[in-house]
Amino acid sequence: MQRQRRFRRETWRLLGLISPTLFWLIVFFLVPLLLVLAISLGQRGTYGGVRWDLTLENYARFFDPLYLRIFGRTVFIALATTVICLLTGYPLAYFIATRPSGWRNGLLLLLMIPFWTNFLIRTYAWLLILRDQGVINIFWTGAMHEFMAHAAMTVPLPIWGPLLEATSVPLPLFGTDGAIIVGLVYAWLPDMVLPCYASIERLDYSLVEAAQDLYANRFRSFLRVILPMTMPGIVAGSVLVFIPSLGAYVTPDLLGGAKSIMIGNVIYSQFMSARDYPFGSAISFVLMAVMLLGTLIYFRLGTE
């Protein structure tokens, strides 16, 4: 009896402790989420509102080849971003984690400094670098072109012709999947480096020495010990990069131009231009489902 009463009192106390969080999550997460779900089952009204005739038509519409193609490209861009972040971020994290302890915080700080600038401005900076009149192309069509012209006059060789022609037009950098990937990698790299750093820094180095003592050279001790031991960091970093990349909006909007769009831009245009709230909500839901499923599978694989 008494124990039961005490147990109940404990439960109430705990509920009291988490009530602010609970309140926040219910009001600002669960309720809006249910609203989106409800809207996704409605129909677009004539003047852009929502008509409450329940239908699954919005979900069916998503499987139109047009949207599937955009979705496929979105997944590809997000995967490429994750892989590039991993391939560049892990070595960087390893480098920082193996510096003397006095250096590490300073190096991590250097990594964070660019992120004190507003995200929009940083993405805009990439636009200034990549566009046709951007930093790279000014050099390409300017100095590079002139150099080719000069070289062609000084040393007549057949290779100058095509090179001269190539430098006469800007490189197609802006408005491509590549531009989006560059922007996303730049944006999310720290999210890969930090979890990887945490797991590498925690790694007991005597395990690496043990592997080397047991005839594993540097490469094999990396493959058999360091990599599996730091897998939690790799999994966490990959999820932290993949999810925001999949739902990216600003980066493809600025760097993808009109040609290269991602699913986030489609959702935006459904809400803001087409005023088709139900369809936009349906796409949002499909995106969330894919993220959830992908993350679950990935975590399961990564922790095995």
């Binding site: 043990a210 592997a211 003592d213 599996p228």
Partner: protein, 360 residues
């Protein structure tokens, strides 16, 4: 077969301005249990890491099996290490841990399997192959670490305080087991420890180190009975030190006068000069207590304190104003031990051969 499993010639290792190992020359005989003994920070672990190849010497050479090691990396040296914290791979099973070295050297699967099972049998851990290290007790992890190293049949097995994390009872049992194991496999063991009792129990030979230098090299008996200097005498076991001046030399014996009044006879193995400052070291268990004067050389004193420790009784006896010696008697008899109450006037006596004359 070379005579020495490991040889260090004038090896030094500096870390920045710190000298971890200072001009050490060592020959470790083949097939023996060899210990590096010293307090923490004395350079014993660094010496071991120099042999394993985890560190490269700043000066001097390391030979293993007569072969100069130079800058050969750890994974190409014919030695294996048992690490202080075991360093078992937590993401692998016991089997995979033990098989790791064989896999890296591409030993055929079937042979590897046989050797792994044999090794686990040898450390008395059969049937544990599929456990993960965190499912084992400290003692079992210790055995896995041992099997993981021994399965490779190294020329030399390096052990870095492998029993440090075990409780006393288990440590004692493992000491004997390790010693027996070494005897059975015949592999040279190089064992690092700060525990003098452990080193005495297990080793064929001991190198006592302090501040990066080897102070004495010898069998446990030599180290204990004939310490080369004050540090060794003090570090190994318990010792009474008495400082004085040499006042007479004859027939391999020196007469040392302590505190101006106390005359001590001590056998002198090395040449000493008259009036030289000298320290006499004498083990507490080599001294006997008497009520009547047993020998003209016995020294009178007064019992100041009696300490009963179970296996033996210690009397602290004041000989002069500044000299108090500890006398240890084993409690061999039945019933209450023989002891002299505080304040008793007694004579302390020892054979002049059991006292050691050390440099001051």
């Amino acid at each position: 077969m070379p005579e020495h499993a490991v040889k260090l010639t004038r090896v030094s290792k500096h870390f920045g301005s710190v000298t971890a190992v200072d001009d050490v020359s060592l020959s470790i005989p083949d097939g023996r249990f060899f210990s590096l003994l010293g307090p923490s920070g004395c350079g014993k672990t660094t010496t071991l890491r120099l042999i394993a190849g985890f560190e490269l010497p700043t000066a001097g050479e390391v030979y293993i099996g007569g072969k100069l090691q130079g800058e050969i990396p750890p994974y190409r040296r014919p030695v294996n290490t048992v690490f202080q914290n075991y360093a078992l791979f937590p993401h692998m099973t016991v089997y995979d841990n033990v098989a790791f070295g064989l896999q890296m050297r591409k030993v055929p699967k079937e042979e590897a399997r046989q050797r792994v099972l044999e090794a686990l049998e040898m450390v008395r851990l059969p049937g544990m192959e599929n456990r993960k290290p965190d499912q084992l007790s400290g003692g079992q992890q210790q055995r896995v670490a041992l099997a993981r190293a021994l399965v490779n049949r190294p020329k030399v097995l390096l052990l870095d305080e492998p029993l440090g994390a075990l409780d006393l009872k288990l440590r004692k049992a493992m000491q004997l087991e390790l010693k027996a194991l070494q005897h059975r496999v015949g592999i040279t063991f190089v064992y690092v420890t700060h525990d003098q009792e452990e080193a005495l129990t297990m080793s064929d030979r001991i190198a006592v180190m302090n501040r990066g230098a080897v102070l004495q090299l010898g069998t446990p008996e030599e180290i204990y009975e004939r310490p080369a200097n004050r540090f060794v005498a003090d570090f190994i076991g318990e010792t009474n030190f008495m400082e004085g001046q040499v006042k007479g030399i004859r027939a391999g014996e020196a007469v040392v006068v302590v505190d101006g009044v106390l005359t001590i006879h001590v056998s002198a193995e090395r040449a000493v000069g008259m009036n030289e400052e000298a320290t006499v070291a004498i083990r507490p268990e080599k001294i006997s207590l008497h009520v009547e004067i047993p020998d003209p050389r016995a020294v009178p004193g007064v019992v100041e304190e009696v300490i009963y420790t179970g296996t033996d009784t210690r009397h602290l006896v004041r000989l002069t104003e500044n000299v108090v010696v500890t006398v240890r008697q084993q409690n061999v008899g039945v019933g209450a031990p023989v002891c002299f109450p505080v304040g008793t006037r007694v004579y302390v006596h020892w054979q002049s051969e059991s006292a050691r004359l050390l440099m001051a």
